[in-house]
C-alpha cells in the first residue's frame, strides 16, 4: 500500500463476524447502556449500527439497588444499578418485537444468580427468532457460592457457559462477557472458550468506590460500583491485547471507554473484532454514529480496505509493519 494511496468509502469492507454471525458494522451498544434500544432510536436508526446489545436480563423482574446509583469520577463514572429489569418473559414479549421491527441486529445479554438460571434463560431464548447472538454476563454474584462473582471463579465461569451451550445447541453464537477484576484473565478466557463460547466481550466495569466526604459514608446506595468510561480504557485495551495474543482466532467485542473512532481503532488493533459503546452514549446520544464514521475514515487513512485487516494489527512484529 503506497503512502499516498487512499481508498474511497465504498471500497472499505466495514463488516465483521462473531461466531457464525455477520454484522455490517463493528459497532454495538454496551449492555446496560442502551436499555432495550427504544430511546436511542429517537436519535438514529438502530439498524445503522452493528447491533444492539440489550441490558442484561434475568429470570424475574428486579428492582435493582437503592439510589444514589451513580457518581461521576474523573473521565468516568461509577454505577450500581443492580440489574434492574423486567425479567425474561416481559423482555421477550415487549422488547424483542420492537427491535425486530426496527430491523436492528440483536444480541441479548443474560445474567443469573445460579448456573441453572443462565440455562433457563438460554432455554427461553432458544425459540425466539431474530436474534444474532447471546452475550452471557457472568459478572454477577453466584448465590450458591457465597456471592463470589462467576467471572472471578474459573470453574463457575466454565459451568455457566457449558450450561448455556448445551441448552442453546449449536445455532446462536455465545459471547462470554468477562470481568477485568481477576489475576489471570487469559486462563478464564481459555476456560469459557473450551466450554463452548464463540466469542468474548471484554471488559465489564472495574469495581470501585467513592466516599462522600460530607456524609463520610460510601456515596453509592450499593456502596461499591462499576467504573466505566475513558478512565478504564487502558485496562480494556490491555485485556483485549492479552486475550487476543493467547486466543487469536476467538472474536472479541472490545469495550471500556470507547468514545471516539480513535478509541475504537485502538481496540481493533489490540485484537477486537467489534466494539461496544456504553458510557459515551450517556454524554452523547449519537456517539455510536460519530464513532462509526470516524473509525471508517481512520481505517481508510491507514490504507485498510477492510476492517478485518486491522483486527489485531498491533500484534504484528515491527518488520511486518515496515513492509506495509
Amino acid at each position: 500500500m503506497g503512502s499516498g494511496w487512499k481508498a474511497t468509502m465504498s471500497t472499505l469492507d466495514f463488516s465483521t463476524t462473531i461466531g457464525n454471525t455477520w454484522f455490517p458494522a463493528p459497532t454495538f451498544t454496551a449492555s446496560g447502556c442502551a436499555s432495550s434500544g427504544r430511546e436511542l432510536a429517537q436519535f438514529f436508526p438502530l439498524r445503522e449500527m452493528g447491533g444492539v446489545v440489550t441490558k442484561s436480563v434475568m429470570s424475574k423482574a428486579r428492582n435493582g439497588r437503592p439510589t444514589p446509583r451513580m457518581a461521576e469520577t474523573p473521565s468516568g463514572m461509577l454505577n450500581s444499578i443492580g440489574l434492574q429489569g423486567p425479567g425474561i418473559d416481559a423482555f421477550i414479549a415487549k422488547d424483542i418485537p420492537y427491535l425486530v421491527e426496527q430491523k436492528a441486529r440483536i444480541i441479548v445479554s443474560i445474567a443469573g444468580e445460579t448456573v441453572e438460571e443462565y440455562s433457563t434463560l438460554a432455554r427461553k431464548l432458544r425459540s425466539v427468532s431474530g436474534l444474532s447472538a447471546i452475550e452471557v454476563n457472568i459478572s454477577c454474584p453466584n448465590v450458591e457460592n457465597r456471592g463470589l462473582v462467576f467471572a472471578c471463579d474459573p470453574d463457575a465461569s466454565r459451568r455457566v457457559i457449558d450450561g448455556v451451550r448445551r441448552t442453546i445447541g449449536g445455532e446462536l453464537p455465545i459471547i462470554a462477557k468477562l470481568s477485568p477484576d481477576v489475576t489471570d484473565l487469559v486462563s478464564i478466557a481459555r476456560g469459557v472458550v473450551d466450554s463452548g463460547a464463540d466469542g468474548l466481550a471484554l471488559i465489564n466495569t472495574v469495581l470501585g468506590m467513592v466516599i462522600n466526604v460530607d456524609t463520610m459514608r460510601p456515596h453509592l446506595g450499593g456502596k461499591t460500583g462499576g467504573l466505566s468510561g475513558p478512565a478504564i480504557r487502558p485496562i480494556a485495551v490491555r485485556a483485549v491485547y492479552q486475550v487476543h495474543a493467547a486466543l487469536p482466532n476467538i472474536p472479541i467485542l472490545g469495550m471500556g471507554g470507547v468514545a471516539s473512532g480513535k478509541d475504537a481503532l485502538e481496540m481493533i488493533l489490540a485484537g477486537a473484532s467489534g466494539v461496544s459503546i456504553g458510557t459515551a452514549s450517556f454524554g452523547n446520544p449519537t456517539a455510536i454514529m460519530k464513532i462509526q464514521n470516524e473509525l471508517k475514515q481512520l481505517l481508510l487513512d491507514r490504507g485498510f480496505t477492510s476492517l478485518k485487516q486491522a483486527i489485531g494489527y498491533a500484534h504484528r512484529p515491527e518488520a511486518d509493519n515496515a513492509n506495509e
Binding site: 446496560g32 447502556c33 442502551a34 436499555s35 427504544r38 430511546e39 436511542l40 429517537q42 436519535f43 441490558k55 428492582n63 435493582g64 439497588r65 437503592p66 439510589t67 444514589p68 446509583r69 451513580m70 461521576e72 474523573p74 473521565s75 468516568g76 463514572m77 454505577n79 444499578i81 434492574q84 446506595g221 468510561g229 475513558p230 468514545a259 458510557t279 459515551a280 452514549s281 450517556f282 454524554g283 452523547n284 446520544p285 449519537t286
Partner: protein, 278 residues
C-alpha cells in the same frame, strides 16, 4: 408513558446572553424551532467542560422559559445555580459559546382542561419553570397563586415580569432576609383551604416535595411535582435516576425520573422509600 419525549433532539445552541441574577446565572440560548416543542416541566441535558473535559456526563437543567418568535428565533432560558464543577463551567460561558444540548426531555406539567384555582410552589432555582407554567395556566383561565422559598434572599428567583401571570406571590426565607421568615411549606394547608386550591404544582428540593405531598395527601388535593434525581444520561438508557412509584395495581416500581418524570404525581411517589432497597 415510559417513552422518551418524542420531540427530543440533539442540537448545537449558541448562548445569546448570560447574566447574574442573585445567586444564579440566567442563561439564554438560541434553540430555533425546538423552542416550540418545549413545555413547562421539561428539562434540557447539556454537555459541560468542552471537548477535552474529564466530565463525561451531561448536566440536567429545567427549561425555565422559551420564546418562540424573537429576533433570535426560538430561545430557551435556564436558571443555573453554580453548584459543582459542571454547573460552574456553564455559568462561566459567555455570549457566543455554542452548547451541545439535548431537549426537550421528560414529562411536562399537566394543564387542567377547565379553569380552576391552582397553587405553584417553588424552592430555590425550582421556581424557574413555574413562571412559564403560570402563563400557560393563566391563559387557561386558572387563578394562579405562588409561594417561593429558599434559605436566604439571594437564592430566591423571582423576576419582575414573572408576577404578571400570578394573582399573588408570597416569599419565605429561612433566615428572614426576604419576605416572611419560615418555610414555604408552612402556609400551604391554609392556602389550599382558603382558596379552594384544586392542584398544587411544585418544583424544588426533594425534601420540600416530600413535605408538600404529606399536606396535599391529607387534603386530597392533586400534587404535580418536578423531581430532581441524579441523572447520568437523561435519556432513559442508564437506569440511575429511578424513584419508587406506585403503579395502578398498587405495586411499586422503580421508574426513571428522566422518562416518567421529572413531573410526577406526588401522591404516587413513595417518598419514604427513596434511597432504600425495594
Amino acid at each position: 408513558m415510559s417513552q422518551i419525549n418524542r420531540n427530543a433532539q440533539q442540537l448545537l445552541a449558541p448562548i445569546i446572553s448570560n447574566k447574574k441574577v442573585g445567586n444564579y446565572q440566567q442563561i439564554i440560548i438560541n434553540v430555533g424551532d425546538l423552542a416550540a416543542s418545549c413545555k413547562p416541566g421539561n428539562f434540557v441535558a447539556i454537555n459541560v467542560g468542552g471537548d477535552s473535559s474529564s466530565m463525561v456526563l451531561r448536566r440536567a437543567f429545567a427549561i425555565s422559559r422559551v420564546t418562540v418568535s424573537s429576533t433570535f428565533g426560538g430561545t430557551m432560558e435556564l436558571i443555573v445555580a453554580p453548584h459543582g464543577q459542571g454547573s460552574r463551567w456553564l455559568c462561566a460561558q459567555g455570549e457566543g459559546v455554542v452548547l451541545d444540548i439535548v431537549a426537550p426531555l421528560g414529562t411536562a406539567f399537566g394543564i387542567p382542561t377547565e379553569p380552576m384555582p391552582v397553587l405553584l410552589v417553588g424552592g430555590g432555582y425550582g421556581s424557574a419553570p413555574l413562571f412559564g407554567l403560570a402563563e400557560v395556566l393563566n391563559a387557561r383561565g386558572c387563578r394562579v397563586d405562588m409561594l417561593l422559598g429558599a434559605s436566604t434572599a439571594s437564592k430566591i428567583y423571582a423576576p419582575m415580569e414573572g408576577k404578571r401571570a400570578v394573582n399573588s406571590m408570597r416569599i419565605y426565607t429561612e433566615d428572614g432576609s426576604m419576605g416572611q421568615t419560615g418555610r414555604v411549606t408552612d402556609p400551604i394547608a391554609e392556602i389550599i383551604k382558603d382558596l379552594d386550591i384544586a392542584v398544587v404544582y411544585s418544583c424544588g428540593p426533594m425534601p420540600m416535595l416530600s413535605a408538600i405531598t404529606k399536606i396535599t395527601n391529607s387534603l386530597s388535593v392533586v400534587h404535580q411535582c418536578a423531581v430532581e434525581e441524579a441523572m447520568a444520561c437523561g435519556i432513559g438508557v442508564c437506569m440511575t435516576c429511578v424513584l419508587p412509584v406506585e403503579n395502578e395495581d398498587g405495586s411499586i416500581s422503580m421508574l426513571r425520573s428522566c422518562i416518567d418524570g421529572p413531573v410526577m404525581d406526588g401522591a404516587k411517589v413513595q417518598w419514604d422509600q427513596v434511597g432504600k432497597q425495594l
